[in-house]
Symmetry: D2
Subunit: 345 residues, 4 copies
């Protein structure tokens, strides 16, 4: 690849500190299947962010595995999930949830998000007992699939509704780092541990080789979770590989630093494009940008950079998606911006 | 129940000819599991409607079983169904299809129906390989869940699209009798056997005690279908009970006669309500009526009749659903109409 | 069929009293989906046999559906079933239980039965957490698949072990009537309701057209069971057809009378074959006989009767299976015996 | 851990060459989801071992995922697996295969292996159509779960039977390296690609951080396999992590060198224990040893080493399991042997 990629936040390997830790511990014998010392230390470090909640923590290799596990272990066969129609489990996981036997009830997203109203409407529309699957779990992502954020107030309102209506709340945190490190964010890991029944903290997109940490505040969902990890193929013999990376991410704040870098690069790029006179299809809240650019400019940018053309905007312009990451180089951000500015002048 | 019921088309038992046949053959020993003489005769009678297609025919106890079987036997685990959001498998089967592992992609219905455009849009929106389940089967109902009909032209257009795009076509015929016996209908069983890959003919709602006949024109879907019947619990030891009823329904046209009676009662009731000055939320094409009546009138009707209040129309009126059947008495239709007319005058 | 069949206990239709009840109530309008008056009355009649237990009762169309429902509603995805290797769910249901996602751990049967020892051995062999599915439910049939019986003492010992080890106990009662009406039996429906967590009472093999009654003594398994009935395709629109038959079976003891007739015919046939000098591969405890007959005699019997050749015994003789039923004619039993006696003399 | 571990072959990280390759390529941007350059190179390297077969090759994170994927993608819901009762999918994967809906038919292992006779017996015992699931895929492991090997002749005989009887053959190669590098081995990767329909090459146990390579010789099983990888959560965003490791393992024979080291250490340890006068419960053919030792000696060894006590042998001795690996140190092998020798003298 000669063109610099803004396609996604997983085009590089891992942050060098993670590789270093892998090398340094490589020949130490450890117990298998997640009972190694590094996984234990990572659990302790993650729990320190969660006050009195003291959740169970497990590490798995991919986000889809994390969603399969958290949902299929929490539900009985007649129970269904409520999710925004834009949710990752709805449009990017090849029917993984349905393959475990569960219906997903979709609702129209509002800025990529669920709201108490949309959840209530789904409950009302799915109440014809026993002819409809029973809504039992609410799925949302933070940051969302279009890079937007839940405020503390928004998440509290949803959590309250869930408790009132007997619903479990699952938060998909594939890009939780980006969310928690965003300028507008007012949520903490502790808040989330208090508001959600189960959630997961993405490692892959924040600078790990691979790995997501499943966190289970709700004690009823903890029991026997390891059976599910094994049954779905997610129990790695060398679980140390996952644990060690999370230890490194949470040892001294690397997790937040890397997310902040990604967001900062996004803000820098966003400002420059904005200053050049272009508008955006969605506000740049985390590490995803959706500028609306002339097709002619897009063509020129494509000579030097990789990115997705998201959707046509009008006859002569389109929305593109740019993603920054822990590894994004400021010089490349500036090079991209320079091409935009050059086009304008 | 003292009030006469227009709630549905399955409030009575079976047409007396069916009970008579059950009694007359009761003590004749027959081979079990659908290999009895009556099932064979019923198959032959049904196949006579289908020209050269010569499909396999199997009998099962319920419509949900018919949908589970036809879909789960036709698909591999990564394959999905396209269905209208109003489809029975979407809103009235408790996630039965998802429980077999398959995603349902829903599209907005047009008069309760799918169109080539809505199917094409679903294909386009689900093409991000391999991150989305593969659309493979199109599900539609005739008559639809709101009593509307597919014309021959409409079904041909969908069938052509399916063949072009490698999609299987399944027709849910829970109320196929009502559809084929409707005034506006121009489809025959032979047409459907040529246009659909697999479909089923409802017995329960047309006057059987229970039973639906699954018809499989597509030879690729026939092989090993019996394994699925058994695996899903649908293989009755006394399969004769299902076969004999379909033999009786198709022996001398009873199937069509009963459906015609139901439609006739619906037309009679519809005309009278219309003549009394009321409009309908949907055209009365088969045996379901959706008149819009004043809430005060609805209250009075409820003293004498059972029916569903479908949805509010405005502050003072609502849509109700009335269903007629093979067993509906003309005197009760007229009594209902009389209450309406009495209210107007 | 010109040959009289001893193949099974479901070669005829239903007991005439059941058909009569269907005819008499045929045109009475009833609420759908099992909320009809006849189902309610049948529930009450069945509960009267169960003292203070007061279980939930539901009716479904087939034994395989009953097993699918009782097992899949009781288990979470990581939980497994312990069953004898000869169990119906193991060898005659086409992988129906596995199709709902659950492993079956098989143990060698002792006279067709489970024992506390065989269950304990299975627990011990499946304890490697979390690498093995968790044993959670014990499945047994009474009468067993080879016609043997559990004594009260045997079932109590298994039930006690289940309670101690956190296992649910499911009793498949496809031929429970034959068991409870056997000479050697010392169990009652009340005993079973106290010892099992969930069980079902077979109707098909005792003289119904179709239908099995699922009984749920354990309150934890009752909740939301109807969702599962609907999801697996087992909720019949005309649930009255099932309810009415069980009402008739339990109204005045018909259920037990018919089972007693079947057992009596088996004893009569067994005695005559025994008196003619032939031995049996298993004791005749209910309505299944396994005599060992010379192959030459078997050939002659096949000219007049239908039955299964179960397995070769030695070079010149085989075990055959004969099944009697509620409908078995004494004249045919005597005719069969006469052929045997004729051969001997 | 102060005691040196012979518990398994996954107690250390990865071979240093693999870590080095990860570091060197770390910041190179690559396409996601397995379309990176390293995965392509690894595929090419693996295919070079397989002559004209030219299979598809995919990389996943764990052996259980590999088994889930290869089996669930190959089968329809009514199809079953034949496996030895000692197979990994039977006793160490928490019902993972059943969780995808498929029954496993177990047969008694012979030296941990399947034979044409045991497969034929399973076919015969599962032929009662349609009441039994259809045997469709044969699962075996090489090396087996007890470290034994299939000879070329044995595997050919099974493959021939499979082709004759319409069965697919899957080879679980979690320890395929140990098998192919064993002294007694006469199989090659090319042989296996010609004899099996689908198989996988274990990376985790041979010195990768994680990763197994699924190889698909049978063209009918290739199509749409990626849908399954994604649906089961096995498609890693940074697929490069898996591809690069297999590139390194197959670039210059490291895969075979590491396996040879493990086997060599096993032979060294086995010889010494044997020379000290002890027998074995199974022949040491690969990297697993099953010596029978006095319980007193076992107690002393436990002070210095970790290993599994496999099963009691008699009152005073037990079978233990020792596993060597790519990382096993010769000094530790000799230290272990010294303790044994010291006990004898």
């Amino acid at each position: 690849m000669n063109r610099y990629s803004f396609l996604d936040d997983y085009s590089e390997g891992a942050h060098p500190d993670i590789l270093k830790a892998l090398s340094e511990t490589n020949m130490v014998q450890q117990t298998a299947y997640g009972d190694d010392a590094y996984s234990q230390e990572a659990r302790t470090l993650i729990r320190q962010h969660m006050g009195d909640v003291d959740p169970d923590v497990w590490f798995v290799a991919s986000g889809t595995l994390a969603n399969i596990l958290t949902i299929s272990s929490a539900l009985r066969s007649h129970e269904a999930v409520i999710a925004p129609a834009s949710g990752h489990i709805v449009v990017r996981e090849t029917g993984a949830i349905e393959a475990t036997g569960h219906k997903i009830i979709t609702v129209p997203p509002v800025d990529g998000k669920l709201t108490p109203d949309s959840i209530s409407a789904a409950l009302k529309a799915n109440a014809h007992f026993p002819h409809m699957a029973k809504p039992r779990l609410v799925y949302l992502s933070n940051a969302t699939e279009i890079g937007t954020l839940y405020t503390k107030k928004e998440l509290e309102a949803i959590s309250t509704l869930c408790k009132e209506r007997g619903l479990l709340l699952l938060l998909d945190g594939a890009r939780l780092g980006a969310a928690l490190s965003a300028e507008k964010n007012d949520l903490t890991l502790k808040d989330i541990a208090e508001l959600a029944d189960i959630f997961w903290i993405g490692g892959t997109k924040v600078g790990a080789l691979l790995g997501e940490a499943i966190v289970i505040p709700n004690p009823e969902l903890r029991e026997e979770f390891r059976f599910h990890i094994k049954q779905r193929g997610a129990l790695l013999a060398k679980g140390r590989v996952l644990g060690l990376q999370f230890k490194e991410l949470f040892r001294a704040g690397l997790y937040f630093d890397l997310a902040r870098h990604a967001n900062g690069m996004a803000q820098r790029l966003s400002s420059k494009i904005s200053n050049a006179g272009y508008r955006f299809a969605a506000e740049t809240e985390t590490n995803q940008l959706f500028p609306i650019l002339p097709n002619v400019l897009i063509g020129k940018l494509k000579d030097h950079f990789d990115f997705y053309i998201w959707e046509p905007h009008d006859e002569s312009s389109s929305v593109i998606r740019l993603v920054t990451s822990w590894a994004t180089q400021e010089t490349q951000v500036d090079a991209f911006a320079a091409k935009v500015e050059e086009f304008v002048t």
